[in-house]
Symmetry: C2
Subunit: 134 residues, 2 copies
Amino acid sequence: MTARSLHHIGIAVDDLDAAIDLWVALFGASLEHRERVDDQGVEAASLAVGPSRVELLAPLRPDTPVGRFLEKRGPGMHHVAFEVDDVAAELRRLQASGTRLIDETPRRGMFGLQVAFVHPEATGGVLAEFVGDE
Amino acid sequence: MTARSLHHIGIAVDDLDAAIDLWVALFGASLEHRERVDDQGVEAASLAVGPSRVELLAPLRPDTPVGRFLEKRGPGMHHVAFEVDDVAAELRRLQASGTRLIDETPRRGMFGLQVAFVHPEATGGVLAEFVGDE
């Protein structure tokens, strides 16, 4: 099995409106979707850059994963997401090889897609996400 | 003007061979190119993930930008690169709006492409790169 492509890169931001304006002005990104994802404790904006996608993430509260990330490291690159056919199958594959996961089963992410995170300890310090329709 | 797409994401690593093996095993990435870029003080490996690209960067010496990044933050996501038609024109556009740059003129990057970096202070903590044929 393999990832089909990068689905998006995730960026942690303090102020979602200001960050959207900045990415539009600096890089010609365009806002395609905005959604509050309570399960992840974020308000998220998906920006298109041609066929690519950047997801800006602002924490709903300080005691959330993105809130703690901002407290510890400040705003910046947060995660990289890979598009796969079957998120649960990828998790089973990595579990079978002893890879440390954050999510052992998929959960609901933006756009209603299935998502799951791999632990940065398993990837050389990169928080990695799988995204898929199922 | 606008970025055409994400060109790659850059990941800082300690051990290039080990990191390549890891990205192949975890995400089905495939090695497409490997190059020593003396101007940036790195040995770099470009990995394809479908139509997307991940660039793994290992420092040639500790006293390089990626060496200092590893010393300060450890391995992980380092920068995001946007594909543009004309790197110098993008730099002029950002300079005209007062955006802080790292490179005021393009320099040579991997694949012989023109590259230039925008300062993270201007982007909300994200080291951003423009990549183009000219």
